[in-house]
């Protein structure tokens, strides 16, 4: 499972980095979204990759990372997802405003060789 998860993170991050270096605003926003997915999976993986272990203690039970999943990375991922959702929406607004005001979807607001 480690190999699959790390490959997924690597592919998402690689595609994301390539896309945010592209000149079109839409590519940049997709790149940022892919990167944030990669980062979310990465945060999740810092809690250890186990299947079928609950992050919640049972009454009377003692917290033990051998039998429980680490709940903190999951909480961090939730927060990160919400925040990246909001910032992506905000970036979308800026993107549309830039498109409307400059008449092009180039990130610099004008085409390079014109």
């Amino acid at each position: 499972m480690e190999a699959v998860v790390s490959l997924a993170i690597g592919m998402l991050a690689g595609s994301g980095v390539w896309l945010i270096l592209r000149p079109r605003t839409f590519q940049v926003i997709i790149g940022l979204s892919l990167l944030s997915h990669a980062v979310n999976i990465f945060i999740f993986s810092t809690g250890g990759l186990r299947i079928g272990v609950p992050p919640i203690l049972e009454p009377g039970g003692v917290g033990d990372l051998a039998r429980h999943a680490d709940p903190l990375p999951q909480a961090l991922v939730l927060t990160a997802i919400v925040i990246s959702f909001a910032t992506t929406a905000l970036f979308l607004v800026v993107l549309l405003a830039a498109r409307g005001l400059t008449g092009t979807d180039h990130v610099d607001g004008r085409e390079r060789d014109q």
Partner: protein, 540 residues
């Protein structure tokens, strides 16, 4: 009464949050309500932060006040920590906030529907970032602060502004992702995100995991340096700040100092002398990065012909100076750097506000050669509703503007008699007190960098001043309102007060620096019971 004072620590976050929310609920129609509430909240923040400063200063030794939300034990709770450094930053934020808000009332708050609420959220994010005691909440408050600053920077839909904001947003979203990567790497190894707990655990991290923690810390450090606009990662700054509206730029000028604050706090806490094998990790990077940033900033100061970008270049110089001074790892130099920080934040904010008033009286960009304008892509300059009631001409307004400009120039270049000079002296003097040992090379590098950047700044400011005040082609008197010039004068007078009261202020800064270099006090205040990890790398 004491119970109330205990809760004062969280007030700098709650007051602007409540004010901003109420403003949004009230709707855009009730302008006078919004303005009144904004003024009330911002001036309340000034009072609260000054009270917090006094509290932080009064308790000598253990100057740290800890506020645990919900009274959970510190390792679980969301903790807010108030010490001298955060109190100082809170006061600076509140003063800048008040000045920029008063300035904006003249007309800028009408530029968009939600200027005033965004302004409050900006203050909330800044205050939260200065108060928080754990890394993840630092991330959250960074996002609050940035999201508000995106909104403020975008205010007034103008092509140049939107274009600059697009870069600003993209750079900052990417840096937020880096922040998350670094934070989760640190968590993965140490199993905690509480800064005080981290300071205890980093010295005992297993040797094979140490590299991983250091990489995580380095990634987080890169994020702070992006915020602080260190050389290779700071190119977004002058364009964004130059394009932002004047009051927004005034408050944004402290945003770059948030990065400096975070470096100062975390580097000394996590990688101070007590950090075992990781002690002093990354210090050389701060020195070299600071030197290159000063060099780049000095060249940029000389090269720009637009006042807004000139102020941006001055931020480069001031960030570089601070990084360099922090990187030397010397207690007294850090004290001097804090004094420099206070001076430069006030001076740059005053400069941004002043630029708007000066440029108002002139053809915008008249001093910029047509070729340069083309290169900077400012061909389609559209000025912000200039025709609309620019205010009354105050007698001798040009003289006041000129004096203000001169004050800014002296402060930013670090010439006597104002506090900019004292600050540079306070950074340099301790470096030369080595006794009989020969001076290390870094001391000479610091000396040359500070003097050369001061020279570059004074040359550029003189040129800009001559262009603006003496060589103006039209004899139009700049029109401005009392509420616009007063904040500038107050900010400059505060710098004057820093000069006159240099003794007590320096004493405060020195004790701040001393407590930063003894992180044990901070750690003990946050975690009263020694909480040593059972085995290293126990998170997995």
């Amino acid at each position: 009464m004491t119970a109330w004072l205990d809760h004062l620590t969280i007030a700098p976050i709650l007051v602007p949050l409540l004010a901003g929310t109420l403003m949004i609920l009230a709707g855009g129609q009730r302008r006078s309500f919004r303005v009144g509430l904004g003024l009330l909240s911002t001036f309340a923040l000034v009072v609260i932060s000054v009270m917090l400063l006094q509290m932080a200063d009064a308790a000598d030794g253990a100057a740290t006040r800890v506020y645990r939300l919900g009274d959970w034990p510190s390792i679980f709770a969301i903790v807010l920590v108030l010490d001298r450094l955060s109190a100082l930053m809170l006061v600076l934020t509140a003063i800048l906030g008040a000045a920029a808000l008063v300035f904006s009332i003249a007309r800028w708050d009408r530029a968009g529907a939600n200027f005033l609420p965004l302004f409050q959220f900006q203050l909330m994010g800044l205050n939260g970032a200065f108060l928080t005691g754990d890394l993840f909440n630092l991330f959250v408050f960074f996002e609050v602060m940035l999201t508000a600053s995106f909104g403020l920077a975008l205010h007034g839909p103008e092509a140049a502004r939107v274009r600059a904001s697009l870069h600003y947003v993209a750079v900052n979203l990417t840096s937020s992702l880096l922040f998350l990567i670094g934070v989760s790497m640190i968590y993965g190894v140490t199993g905690t995100l509480n800064m005080a707990d981290l300071a205890e655990r980093i010295p005992v991290v297993a040797a094979e995991d140490r590299a991983l923690v250091e990489v995580g810390a380095a990634i987080v450090g890169v994020v702070f340096l992006i915020k602080a606009a260190m050389w290779p990662v700071g190119f977004w700054l002058p364009t964004t700040y130059g394009a932002a509206s004047a009051p927004a730029a005034g408050i944004l000028s402290i945003l770059s100092k948030v990065g400096i604050y975070a470096v100062l706090r975390l580097w000394l806490l996590l990688f101070g002398d007590s950090a075992g094998d990781s002690a002093g990790f990354g210090g050389d990077w701060l020195i070299y990065g600071g030197l290159v940033t000063i060099a780049f900033g000095s060249i940029a100061v000389l090269a720009t012909q637009n006042m807004g970008r000139l102020a941006g270049a001055c931020i480069f110089v001031s960030s570089g100076t601070l990084l360099l001074a922090i990187g030397t790892g010397h207690v007294s130099v850090t004290g001097g750097a804090l004094y420099y920080l206070a001076t430069s934040v006030l001076a740059i904010a005053a400069f941004y506000l002043l630029i708007e008033l000066v440029e108002r009286g002139r053809d915008v960009g008249a001093d910029v050669l047509a070729v340069t304008r083309e290169a900077y892509g400012e061909g389609e300059e559209e000025d912000f509703d200039e025709e609309e009631e620019p205010g009354i001409a105050i007698p001798a307004s040009k003289a006041i503007l000129g004096l203000g400009f001169m004050g800014c120039a002296l402060l930013l270049a670090g010439l006597p008699p104002l506090s900019g000079f004292l600050a540079k002296l306070a950074i340099l003097a301790p470096l030369f007190e080595t006794g009989n040992e020969p001076l290390p090379d870094t001391t000479w590098a610091v000396l040359i960098a500070l003097i050369a950047s001061g020279l570059a700044t004074i040359v550029a400011m003189t040129r800009a001043g001559i262009d603006a005040f003496w060589a103006a082609s039209t004899e139009s008197v700049p029109m401005m309102r009392l509420t616009e010039i007063t904040p500038v004068i107050v900010l400059l007078l505060l710098c004057g007060a820093l000069t006159v009261q240099a003794g007590p202020v320096m004493r405060y800064m020195q004790s701040t620096a001393e407590s930063l270099y003894q992180p044990a006090g901070y750690v003990r205040a946050v975690l009263p019971v020694p909480h040593l990890p059972e085995t290293e790398g126990d998170a997995r």
